[in-house]
Assembly symmetry: C2
Homo-oligomer: 271 residues x 2
């Protein structure tokens, strides 16, 4: 298998860590996983050939890659513990990386001479299998070890600096978290008329399908892009005492109109 | 076929009209379509057995359903023209309906004794085929003609009043137009680092997939729902002089946190 021969150690057993473990194990990597507590490791014990431990000393000292995949605010303390537990044993070719979109690589530099970042841009759920080959991986490193490792799983591996990755992470907040919040607000609005959220699913999935074929700016429909003021006024009235939703409705509608005008200015010919 | 025997006339040849025409023609309805100008009819002339005309008088007088599917602000004038052209010939059993989510049925009442609304909740693109059986249709009428007609195409037909439909349409603006605008803003943010929008597609499609299995409130991830203030502050800084995006970032993040707290209050037990 493509990943056979690579030996990796993962620190953490949350959603991202568990998915990376399965992805790398699947392509033939030899994987060991450490977690602070035993609970999250239980689900991973069934993965064939994976070493699970709550004792950092038990991690192999000859892994090529150590991946720290824990909550953002725990990355540094886990790095420090890893340095204390394994620092002196680690081979000179090995790299220690974290998987956080919004943290710089510099966080690891004071603990390890060879460090990097391996950021898989995806929203991970505990029990939902994913097609890892479609995930885009963004790596930062001095050598090409992380690039080669991610390349065993996905065809989409990009090099990105810490500053660029921050911007990428911000874009993913808009595309994933904020889009999901639009579904939250839609569900809330529907509650008033007793229509189940499921009725919106064909609309939601078609909206998503469209942007794989059209730039999102061209895919836009609805009252704001048509500048249909009477419909927008009626919507604002319907939102009545929901000041939070009304405010978001207004900002989003204004922004849709602004982007449309900016785009018309840039590309005066209509298609 | 299920729709065989139903005779319908569609007024308009835009996205919604063209898709309804294909959907009803496919299940065996006999369909005639009128449009003000010839241009939009060209693409429909190839549909087998469909009568296309720019002359309202040429529409059959014995259709069971006349569907007015034009821009919101043209619905009333087309209704008036239809009443003048065909009003005296229409059978007593026939129904005249519009397809607009945000317009009340009362708009048609002064022209036709038997009127209604047939609203397909979907975002329609010109050349993209759809699985009509998955679309949810919302109907308003005194009899059950529109319910039966929509039932030939989809299993998801719901009765809804004009007031309820307005709320439904508002929910669809959040779920479709605003979600798409999140993609527009994400693409804009990415432009700064030269990463193509396509890199976000696996993330976008997974975000959508998740809400077919989980309520959107439970599917939420990211810095706002984790109340990770340091990441949110960094994101605000990154947006720098983009006051419009920063404002939306703040409103959306506040709202995500508010919904999370409201939900925790309502359901104190964690799962």
């Amino acid at each position: 298998m493509v990943g056979a021969g690579y030996k990796i150690a993962i620190l953490g057993a949350g959603n991202v860590a568990s998915h990376l473990l399965r992805a790398f194990s699947k392509v033939g990597c030899s994987v060991a996983v450490w977690n602070r507590s035993d609970g999250a490791l239980v689900a991973l014990r069934d993965e064939p050939g994976v070493l699970c431990t709550t004792c950092m000393d038990e991690l192999p000292a000859d892994a090529q890659v150590y991946l720290i995949s824990v909550k953002d605010d725990a990355v540094e303390s886990v790095a420090q513990r890893l340095q204390q537990a394994k620092g002196s044993e680690l081979g000179s070719g090995c790299i220690v990386a974290h998987t956080a979109g919004s943290l710089p690589v510099s966080l690891l530099e004071k603990y390890f001479p060879n460090c990097g970042v391996l950021y898989p841009m995806q929203t991970f759920s505990k029990d939902k299998e994913l097609d890892y080959s479609k995930i885009h991986f963004f790596v930062e490193e001095k050598s090409d070890m992380l690039h080669r490792l991610a390349g065993c799983v996905s065809e989409h591996v990009h090099d990105l600096t810490s500053e660029q990755r921050k911007v990428l992470h911000l874009a993913s907040v808009f595309a994933c978290n904020f889009a999901n919040h639009c579904y939250v607000m839609a569900e809330d609005v529907l509650r008033g008329i007793g229509v189940p959220f499921a009725a919106l699913l064909p609309l939601i999935s078609e909206t998503t399908d469209k942007v794989s074929a059209l730039p999102p700016l061209k895919a836009q429909t609805g009252p704001a892009v048509r500048e249909d003021r009477s419909v927008m006024d009626a919507h604002r009235q319907l939102l009545g005492d929901r000041a939070d939703l009304r405010e978001i409705y207004e900002r989003m509608s204004e922004s849709i109109i602004k982007y449309k005008h900016d785009n018309d200015r840039l590309r005066p010919e209509k298609d």
